[in-house]
């Protein structure tokens, strides 16, 4: 149809821009990796080419694991993420199911409130929440963040699951009702088992959000042994003007691994969670 050779169009419309996006997207991770492998002598030498490692060493990793509380932070982060994700999924299901499948007065108002709650940004809540957590005596306990993370995760899970629950055909529910199942049985035995992909999407996304959370953890967790990875790295690997760059990069890389690992297995579910509401709804 056109005179322009096909390879040139492909190059200009696909490979060049794709290469640009991949390069800029992934370069910081490359930089993280090589910095974590460089010995200090190489790290702080301004004369040598910085983009390669001449004498790779695992010293920073060993130091990070033995001299800091990184393993405790990792355990805390995982515990908090798993617990708050589980709580959010259960509460999200309880909220989404009636909104998606029942007819009752006030349903529209509640659905709108849930959506609005999802859009309340954290900085609007952290000062009063700090006050509340303080009054409850929960400062420096993991309970403080396990309680507060679901404030952003429950509305998200509910929103995503409303879309999922709506896809289950009414006929299935009616058939179960005719067979004598009550509403609760219909839900647990007929509708919920069909929505497991939705639970995985919501779960993966909620888990990633918990791992990413910083503000609440920064305010509520001020002691080493209750800190999460992001707060621990920022608060304890940067002391005044002294930066432990090698260890910081090792921490950044190791701290990113759980999410990246989980994500690589469930990319499709993650994308489904990401695009829920914007494309379907």
């Amino acid at each position: 149809m056109t005179r322009v050779p096909r390879w040139r169009t492909r190059l200009l419309q696909l490979w060049l821009p794709l290469g640009f996006f991949l390069l800029t997207g992934l370069a910081p991770f490359y930089w993280m990796l090589i910095t974590s492998l460089k010995p200090n002598a190489e790290l702080y030498n301004r004369r040598i080419m910085p983009l390669v490692v001449y004498h790779p060493t695992l010293k920073h990793y060993v130091d990070l694991l033995t001299e800091t509380s990184f393993l405790t932070w990792t355990w805390n982060t995982t515990l908090v993420a798993v617990t708050s994700t589980a709580i959010s999924l259960v509460l999200g299901i309880m909220l989404a199911y009636p909104l998606a499948r029942m007819r009752f007065a006030g349903a529209g108002l509640i659905a709108a409130t849930v959506a609005a709650t999802y859009l309340v940004p954290q900085p609007l809540l952290f000062i009063p929440l700090a006050d509340i957590i303080n009054r409850l005596g929960l400062y420096d306990t993991l309970t403080a963040v396990i309680l507060t993370y679901p404030t952003m995760l429950v509305p998200f899970c509910a929103w995503l699951l409303i879309g999922y629950f709506k896809t289950v055909p009414r006929e299935l529910e009616e058939a179960a009702r005719i067979d004598g199942a009550n509403r609760f049985q219909t839900m647990t035995r007929v509708v919920l088992p069909l929505c497991i992909p939705g639970f995985i999407s919501a779960g993966i996304f909620a888990f990633t959000l918990s791992q990413n959370e910083f503000l609440y953890a920064l305010i509520f967790l001020t002691k080493t042994d209750v800190r999460t990875v992001p707060v621990g790295a920022i608060a304890e690997l940067i002391r005044g003007d002294v930066f432990y760059w090698g260890q910081l990069m090792a921490a950044a890389l190791l701290g990113s691994l759980p999410v990246a690992f989980l994500y690589s297995f469930f990319v499709e579910h993650y994308v489904a969670g990401l695009t829920a509401g914007s494309v379907k709804g």
């Binding site: 910081p28 983009l51 999200g92 900085p123 950044a252 695009t275």
Partner: protein
């Protein structure tokens, strides 16, 4: 006879009561409210109540761990007289506007690029999403080292190619620091736009593009008159999301610049944090955080009207 007759009746009574209860529980409204009671109570206690508490706090002079005294709109008047507050407002608007435009244009380009057919598409898409997946604080640490005044690889390249010597101080110069923040926010948020818009692109029926092609429309015409109008609802939702979360951004600024140099990169969230957590003035901090609401609401309403009016 009487005993025989009374027995089944006595036995039926609790059964009838149980029946009535389970029938009552089976009513749509009853079942719904019972299911929603716990999550709604949770959201009320930890979102609704704090929101209201925040409004009360903003009307008080409230040092940490002390009782507050009611000062009416005193905190807001203090905000209005505080030159840093207005600088923070300007910074936040600039940061949000520029980063959102960059993410939108870049994300649309990214979506169009990966919407084509090529090998290892799934792997490439997964790799492109990485900046969005990795915890922000951890990737920001990598950026901090990339922009380090002495050991920046960017400056190394600038010096060795002879473009600049010495290289610029990326986080020490007010304008460059803001540009750096915007660039990193864009780097992290662009995949979200890209993947969501890609999902939107994939819902556009191929026949529409084919029909336009038969009518002689070129690539650009098809993009402008077919793709873009159909993508508009998705663009609107993604933008509203992104505007809210960029406007209220905290992590990136807190880790990279702490609002410096000289408040040049201070945003509402970091300024409220500084006043409330470091300065111990909870009331004043709450008033700065609340000041986000009208600007945020206005921009969302404005955006919605703008997108609707161009239908």
């Amino acid at each position: 006879m009487t005993t025989l007759a009374s027995e089944p009746i006595a036995g039926r009574r609790p059964l009838a009561a149980r029946d009535a209860i389970s029938r009552w529980l089976d009513r749509e409204a009853v079942f719904s409210w019972l299911m929603m009671a716990l999550p709604l109570a949770f959201l009320f206690a930890l979102v609704g109540y704090p929101l209201a508490d925040g409004i009360f706090l903003s009307l008080e002079n409230r040092p940490v761990a002390q009782a507050g005294t009611f000062v009416g709109l005193g905190n807001f008047i203090e905000d209005a007289r505080d030159p840093v507050f207005w600088q923070v407002a300007a910074n936040t608007v600039i940061y949000t506007t520029v980063a959102t435009v960059l993410k939108m244009v870049g994300g649309l380009a990214l979506a169009l690029v990966i919407n084509q057919q090529f090998r290892m598409k799934n792997l490439v898409r997964a790799a492109l999403l990485l900046p969005f997946i990795v915890p922000t604080v951890l990737s920001t640490v990598a950026w901090m080292w990339i922009l380090d005044p002495a050991f920046s690889p960017v400056n190394w390249a600038l010096v060795h190619t002879g473009i600049a010597n010495p290289g610029p101080s990326w986080l020490g110069n007010p304008i460059l620091a803001m540009c750096s923040l915007i660039a990193i926010n864009t780097w992290r948020g662009l995949p979200f736009y890209g993947i969501t818009l890609l999902a939107g692109l994939q819902t556009i029926p191929a026949e529409l593009n084919e029909a336009a092609m038969i009518d002689g429309a070129g690539n650009w015409t098809r993009f402008w008159y077919v793709t873009l109008p159909l993508l508009k609802p998705v663009i609107l939702i993604v933008t509203v999301f992104s505007v809210i979360f960029t406007f209220a951004d905290f992590q990136l600024v807190y880790v990279l610049t702490h609002g410096g140099p000289a408040n040049a990169t201070q945003l509402f969230a970091t300024y409220a944090f500084d006043i409330a957590m470091n300065g111990g003035q909870l009331g004043r901090g709450a008033s700065v955080a609340l000041a986000m609401v009208p600007i945020l609401a206005l921009s969302i309403i404005g955006l919605t009207i703008y997108m609707r009016s161009r239908d």
